[in-house]
């Protein structure tokens, strides 16, 4: 299974000079391939929307109303767009926490833990530096959040590399440890004594709060998410480091034979992944909550896993997918209010999209229309 992760299924196998097998998309397939990567997920999305429409019709609601309200709630007005982008902001960063290690064939699902630890570290940095200029405080928060989150996921990577512990399980279990640490600190040593019925840390101060992108009320976390996703894409697809990571992800033994230090790759990539989620935590504190408390465990880390898988672990594709899921979240409220659908209906749709996209994986390389053009 490991050998297949990180390389698109169905791409031809080519022989490299080192005598090892690597999966690389050939030039001839590029144009058809690119279209394939857009058309197949879009088709899967459409199919899941139709299915969801049928599901809703079974409950006696008009599917056309459903599509209209979904469109209106997610993208229909300028307010809806801002709502969508605000919800997408943390998802881009937490999705990278899963998408980056996936290049190495690792399935990390503990972005939530890195987010919480990142938030705690960022808050601690802000409280320790009270009185410093806001820019300095925010920079320190970002650095602290990224280091905290990075080390947290790196721990999973190290456990896998040195102790042979499955990284999926360890990263998931570390979420619960992170939550326990957060609750302990927030209810104990870091508690603001005036936060009576909602134990919280002291506030980082209004001056240190990061505002919105001018002209919108979407906070800067969105922009940083986009930048992080683009940088991740460049790192993975346009640098030697990224190439090495993909080689290791494609075939671990081959990577070792050609002399790549796989352990180092794992640790660095896991650190970067955790840093992205840690940054999401920092923005939740610095742009939204203004302090750390149990509210931060809102499931952004888990939603990020869904985004990463729907984006087929491509850091660039994470951006539109996060916006799509943000839109579904944004329209969820309208579905509740106008159609009287329960909150869980949005989860049903997300589940349908997830299954459809995974199922559509088998279509890559099998649709002749894409092959005929390139060949």
């Amino acid at each position: 299974m490991k050998a297949d992760v990180g390389a698109p299924v169905g791409t031809p196998v080519v022989k490299t000079g080192a005598g090892e097998f690597l999966r690389l998309p050939p030039i001839t397939a590029k144009i058809g391939g690119a279209a394939e990567y857009v058309v197949i997920p879009a088709g899967a999305l459409l199919a899941s929307l139709v299915l969801f429409g049928i599901f809703v019709a079974l409950f006696g609601k008009n599917p056309l109303d459903l599509y209209f309200y979904m469109y209106q709630g997610a993208f229909g007005t300028w307010f809806s767009w801002q709502n969508t982008l605000t919800r997408a902001a943390p998802l881009i960063l937490t999705a990278l926490c899963t998408a980056l290690p996936a290049q190495l064939g690792m399935v990390i699902i503990g972005g939530e833990g890195a987010l919480l630890i990142g938030a705690l570290c960022a808050t601690s940095a802000a409280l320790a530096m009270a009185g410093a200029p806001p820019l300095v405080v925010d920079t320190a928060m970002a650095v602290a959040g990224m280091i905290g989150g990075g080390l947290w996921i790196m721990l999973s990577g190290a456990l896998r590399q040195y102790r042979g512990v499955n990284e999926t399980i360890s990263s998931l279990l570390l979420v619960y440890i992170a939550l326990a640490i957060l609750n302990f600190l927030v209810e104990g040593p870091m508690r603001d004594p005036t936060s009576l019925n909602k134990p919280s840390t002291p506030e980082i101060g209004t001056a240190n709060m990061i505002g919105s992108i001018p002209g919108t009320d979407v906070h800067w976390g969105f922009m940083f998410g986009v930048i992080a996703a683009v940088l991740s894409y460049i790192l993975i697809y346009h640098t030697v480091f990224g190439f090495a990571a993909r080689v290791a992800g494609g075939n671990l033994r081959a990577a070792r034979v050609v002399g790549l230090s796989v352990g180092k790759l794992i640790l660095i990539v896991c650190f970067l992944a955790g840093a992205a989620a840690g940054l999401a935590g920092m923005f939740e504190v610095a742009a939204v909550q203004g302090r750390t408390n149990a509210n931060l465990a809102a499931g952004y880390g888990f939603a990020g896993i869904l985004v990463a898988f729907l984006a087929r672990q491509n850091p660039l594709a994470v951006i539109p997918v996060a916006i799509l899921l943000g839109g579904i979240g944004a329209s969820g409220g309208l579905l509740q209010r106008r159609l009287g659908l329960p909150d869980a209906s949005v989860l049903v749709l997300e589940g349908m999209i997830f299954v459809m996209v995974l199922a559509s994986d088998t279509l890559y390389g099998r649709l002749s229309i894409f092959r005929a053009k390139g060949a």
Binding site: Y71, W78, P199, G290, G333, L334, P342
Partner: protein
């Protein structure tokens, strides 16, 4: 079915929304005079905290000229800000009730500042002078109802051991545990309350484990302070223990085990607020009350409750309703032996000291940290 038509119609509708939607508030589509928005943190049929608020919202739906919009399972993040804005922008809501504690600061405060002409009412928060004038907080002294339920629990227990499944050791929860235990001690001064904290507001598995563990220790009457008491009530009943409920009336879940319970009475308060709002009267920014103000109530007693228990409970309830009874009246010692309310001191409901409660009274087995 012609799919071409569907997509064309959808696109037309969508495009219309894109151009018109931003210019015309969607509220025009509705004939209601006032739209009220309710936001819940959990599901509104949780037999608990959220259902109590939803019952209040349902009472508003019967009022003429009032339209209610509701959204459930909204997390305490910027998602709730967006939900409020969505209700304002797309539904034309002018009065909002974000009902979960974590919605208050910074989320509701931020929205109140952004929409100074609209009204925001929050359950449980502590409004202070520095908060926006168009924001308010309300809450009920539900420990009064808990105290009465505690009396019933005390008379009903044969083992002299009571159990309390609680979420977090925060002042509101501690106050309920203490008021309930003080009530039970009126029936049996030697009675004990074993408390178990689950650590969070909605932890059904831990709540079930705690319930079982309490019953294994000989506890025969249980109550709780968690968001959804369903798990505790059903488990206790299955194991043959009695329960007193919380938030709403859970007797339908366990008709043979439900002694009584402490309930919110939002279906009285919310219409009162809306009447003030529509008549142009200002809703007080800080609103509190108990049995007397009809913000909380006691569930009807179950058939198994003894006449003696009913008589004592009714006597205290009447005194609380008349305002002549103080629950936290010294001398009260905590469960470590320290005096927390000195002899001769009466801490009435409005006493700010009670909002900071950090102790468990004598008779409670458990620790706050």
């Amino acid at each position: 079915m012609n799919f071409d038509n569907i997509s064309r119609r959808g696109v037309l509708k969508g495009t219309a929304a894109l151009t018109v939607g931003s210019a015309l508030p969607m509220s025009r589509a509705f004939a209601a005079d006032t739209t009220v928005g309710f936001i819940y943190v959990g599901s509104r049929d949780d037999y608990g905290y959220n259902q109590a608020h939803a019952a209040g919202a349902a009472a508003l739906k019967k009022m003429p000229g009032i339209k209610v919009v509701e959204e459930e399972k909204v997390p305490e993040t910027d998602a709730v800000e967006k939900t409020m804005e969505s209700m304002i922008n797309l539904d034309g809501a002018t009065l909002l009730f974000p009902t979960s504690f974590g919605y208050y600061n910074p989320h509701m405060i931020k929205m109140a500042q952004k929409f100074p002409k609209l009204r925001f009412e929050h359950c449980g928060g502590l409004w202070s002078e520095k908060d926006p004038k168009n924001a308010g907080s309300y809450f009920g002294y539900i420990d009064e109802a808990q105290h009465v339920a505690g009396i019933i629990a005390g008379y009903s227990s044969k083992s002299g051991k009571l159990g309390f499944v609680a979420a977090k050791p925060i002042p509101q929860v501690l106050r309920n545990i203490n008021a309930w235990t003080l009530g039970a001690k009126l029936a049996n001064p030697k009675i004990t309350t074993q408390v178990i904290f689950t650590g969070d507001w909605s932890m059904p598995v831990k709540e079930a484990e705690a319930t079982n563990s309490l019953i294994d220790q000989g506890v025969d009457v249980i109550t709780c302070h968690v968001d959804g008491p369903k798990t505790v009530v059903e488990n206790a009943a299955r194991r043959g223990a009695m329960v007193t409920g919380y938030h709403v009336n859970q007797s339908v879940l366990a008709p043979k085990a439900y002694l009584t319970g402490a309930e919110w009475n939002w279906e009285v308060l919310y219409p009162r607020f809306v009447k003030m709002f529509t008549s142009g009267e200002t809703i007080p920014n800080f609103y509190r009350g108990g049995l007397k103000e009809e913000i909380v109530k006691v569930s009807p007693y179950g058939d198994m409750v003894s006449a003696e228990a009913k008589a004592k409970a009714d006597e205290v309830k009447a005194a609380l309703t008349a305002g002549s009874y103080v629950i936290f009246k010294g001398p009260i010692a905590d469960n470590k032996g320290a005096t927390v309310v000195a002899a001769g001191v009466s801490r009435g409901q409005t006493d700010p000291e009670l909002e900071k409660m950090s102790y468990l009274v004598e008779g409670v087995i458990g620790a706050t940290s």
